[in-house]
Amino acid sequence: MLGYIDKIKEVSKRLLEEGQVEMVIGFRKGTLSMMNEPHFARTPAEVQNFVWDSNCGINLCNYLTNRTEKIGILAKGCDSRNIVTHIIENKIKRDQIVIIGVPCKGMIDRRKMSSLFEGEIDDVIEDEHNITVKGAGFEKILNKKDVLQQNCAVCIHRNPVIYDERVADLVDEQTDIDRYADVREIEALSAQEKAAYFEKLLEPCIRCYACRNACPLCYCPTCFTDESRPQWVGKGQDTTDVSTFHFLRAYHCAGRCTDCGACERSCPVGINMRVFTKKLEKDCLELFGWEAGLDPDVRPPLDTYKPGDPDDFIK
């Protein structure tokens, strides 16, 4: 995955020089380790700042919403599925974007990494399978597999589903993975236990809405949480308001979420809110045989009706 960068720069440079796109969206090194940030290259010279490693977890599709210019964008498997969703929802036109597909082998969970060490991590050097972590007084080699983001560990769409350029050969997709073990664990709980579980999960939430802002699906001009006439949900720290926000936000992503992990990644207090979106993802798959963002020509289950749609809940 590290070898991609030359090809990424080459393709981006070509697209900009030929005038096929006005900017290419990719990643550059962040100010902190394990925190690569989005980079918008508008000139061929700016392409030099692009990087690609296992810290490119941000979903770049977030920057495509309602853009009017021609854009080149790097897309991992999950990002490409979000781009498809954007096309379906008319948030960007297909002929407006040049998708540079990046076959992905998973991104590092920086929170998991930090929790392994006492001190601050100063430097992270990775090769194809291992990661060398350096900090004040320690240096350790980790297996990349052990520190992957959880959504990457259970990912079955590593390769971009749609692309115009591709920077490397496709990688093998993971098979024989139990993607919903955690969801089933929650499903098995009783009603009271579920309520208690979610209350504990959301206890640290400070309502900063980073999860919403990082999510490419959350593009509403005014979010329901920000509205005050009518006020759909209280803005304070009341447990009911906090859970209502998280439940409703997840619902808005039903049949659209690609489990890119942007929400969880952006959370400053480390809440795994993916348990909500994953439940909906699982339901969509089981009830409608639907996985989001695989084909721009198929309408999603929530805006189509089929005579065979499950209706056992109506008495």
Binding site: A191, E193, A196, G234, D238, T240, D241, F247, I314, K315
Partner: protein, 52 residues
Amino acid sequence: MEHMGIEPGRLQFSWVSSAESTKFVQVVTEVTQAIKELGPNKTLVKSIPEVA
């Protein structure tokens, strides 16, 4: 809703035509009875602070 911790049976869906008065009565009776058995809802209820 059940996944959020609302008891099964508290939320019910039914399709009743305007011509099906008997079914309407039956549904209302069944739903109210089921909810009475469950008792007051305690999940996702916002408590309003009492002000003197």
